[in-house]
Amino acid sequence: MAELRTEEFQVNMGPHHPSTHGVCRLLLTLDGEKIIKVEPYIGYLHRAIEKICENRTYPMCIPILDRFEYVTAMSCNYVFSLAAERLAEIEVPERAEYLRVIMLELNRIASHMIFFGTTVMDIGALTPFLYALREREMIMDLFEMTCGQRLTYNYIRIGGVSRDIPKEFIPKCRETIKTIDEKIEEYKRLLNGNPIWKARTIGIGKLSPELAIAYGASGPILRASGVEYDLRRDDPYSIYDRFDYKIPTYQNGDVYDRYMVRLDEMQESCKIVAQALDGLPEGDIRAKVKPNFKPPEGEVYTRIENSRGEMGVHLISDGTNKPFRLKARGGSFAHLQLLPEISKGCLIADLVAIFASFDVILPEVDR
């Protein structure tokens, strides 16, 4: 075909756009429908969490960090508590560790449910979104009966957890993870055989393992590119070494693999929760921590495996009751950076699919 000269034009995608999952602005340079260039602009949700945490005592930081990554608020609670515990060298009681694992894994499932729903919706199927949220509600019920909140929990505290689970929790939790496990099989049946779904996801947004590592990708995105790396196993924390679970890894690094990794991960999380419920010991739920918690001077970088990859907290203490510096690191920050690299030359519809498959959540980027 002879080259006909056409004009490139620039379109703003966001900050108010249904598929940016929040307030991210992508400045697209387009030629027809083809994307020449993507420039992310962030900061529309920059709430200065790091600055205001320097102004709070340690226990007061936990509810603020809830809002750092509200879809998996348990992880935020946990990573901060872990950092503080490592600074002050606090031993956490056995039962608290088990409860933490149960909550973290349930929260991971809830977060992946949101991913599943929004991704499938962005590719055009509206119904699975509602199915995913229906299952998520069951987990919300469990959280609600434990800590009274649906989204921002403030449950995992320095030295343990805030309160014990009620009696009805265990049977209900078993039932929930059983249902969810079945439902995930149903999702797979619903979508994986669908030729449109396959055409829209397989081979789209390929991410090579080298590029993924160079750009600091982590979590499911790294695993979808064929790098078997999971901080639960490779940088052990809590009691994850006691459970038997697989680390789902796929090789192609496309949208489909990122989606499959997360679906499989939900099922693995169900397994971990079941084992943790079996092994749940009796005992204290919190170590003795003074209300005016003052860790000794020092600094620590703690990282855990969140549903969006490596979530880290760099905590510097100067011996007072307030953190001297708190730097929160979320997986999405690195992933959003990766977006311009792999979405060159694809169509708008693909960009939406890739963005969705990264499962970027904006407060984690903007903080």
């Binding site: 962030i42 900061g43 920059h46 200065a48 790091e50 600055k51 102004n55 490592r86 600074l87 590592i213 160079a214 750009y215 600091g216 982590s218 790294l222 790098v227 790396y229 490779d234 940088d235 001077e297 020092g298 600094e299 620590v300 970088y301 703690t302 990282r303 490596e310 880290g312 760099h314 510097i316 007072t320 009751n321 307030k322 001297f324 510096r325 730097k327 690191r329 920050f333 690195a334 950076q337 903007d366 903080r367």
Partner: protein
């Protein structure tokens, strides 16, 4: 490689790195600002270490100095390491490690914006987290103040 082995390996093979006691859980080494990029390249290309993954870069204002802390990891060898650079309080500047880990791009932009640390050899230093018409300086600095920012007294 365990933590102790890594520490002794780094101490024997990397004279430019000095061990710091303040790191509580992970290893923390201090490097001079001029040697940063070279050392990082060496760490990344070292076959025994392969620190190919940059997790995070934090900027810190200690009121006497500025620090940038690089949290790096090796995916294949499952190692963790923190590298700290101490910068002077007047006109702090540092070389970009973007050539070593492309991931550094945004972290360095953030440090440039929030701490006012100059980054050399960076390809895209533009407004980032703050509003486009922001003119109130670098908010993460400890001495930063603004009318609607309330600082609580330290106990």
């Amino acid at each position: 490689m365990t933590k102790e082995e890594l520490k002794s390996y780094l101490e024997s093979n990397y004279p430019e790195l000095t061990y710091s006691e303040s790191g509580k859980y992970d290893l923390l080494f201090i490097v001079e600002a001029q040697k940063l990029v070279k050392t990082c390249e060496k760490l990344r290309d070292d076959v025994k270490l392969q620190f190919n993954y940059l997790g995070n870069i934090s900027g810190v204002d200690t009121t006497e100095n500025y620090l940038t802390v690089y949290q790096i990891a090796s995916i294949s060898n499952k190692l963790r390491l923190d590298i700290k650079v101490i910068l002077p309080h007047d006109n702090p500047s540092i070389n970009s490690v973007q050539s070593v880990w492309p991931a550094a791009n945004w972290y360095e932009r953030e440090i440039w914006e929030l701490y006012g640390i100059e980054i050399h050899n960076h390809d895209n230093l533009t407004r980032f987290l703050l509003p486009d018409d922001w003119d109130q300086g670098h908010p993460m600095r400890k001495d930063w103040d603004a009318p609607d920012f309330i600082r609580f007294p330290q106990k």
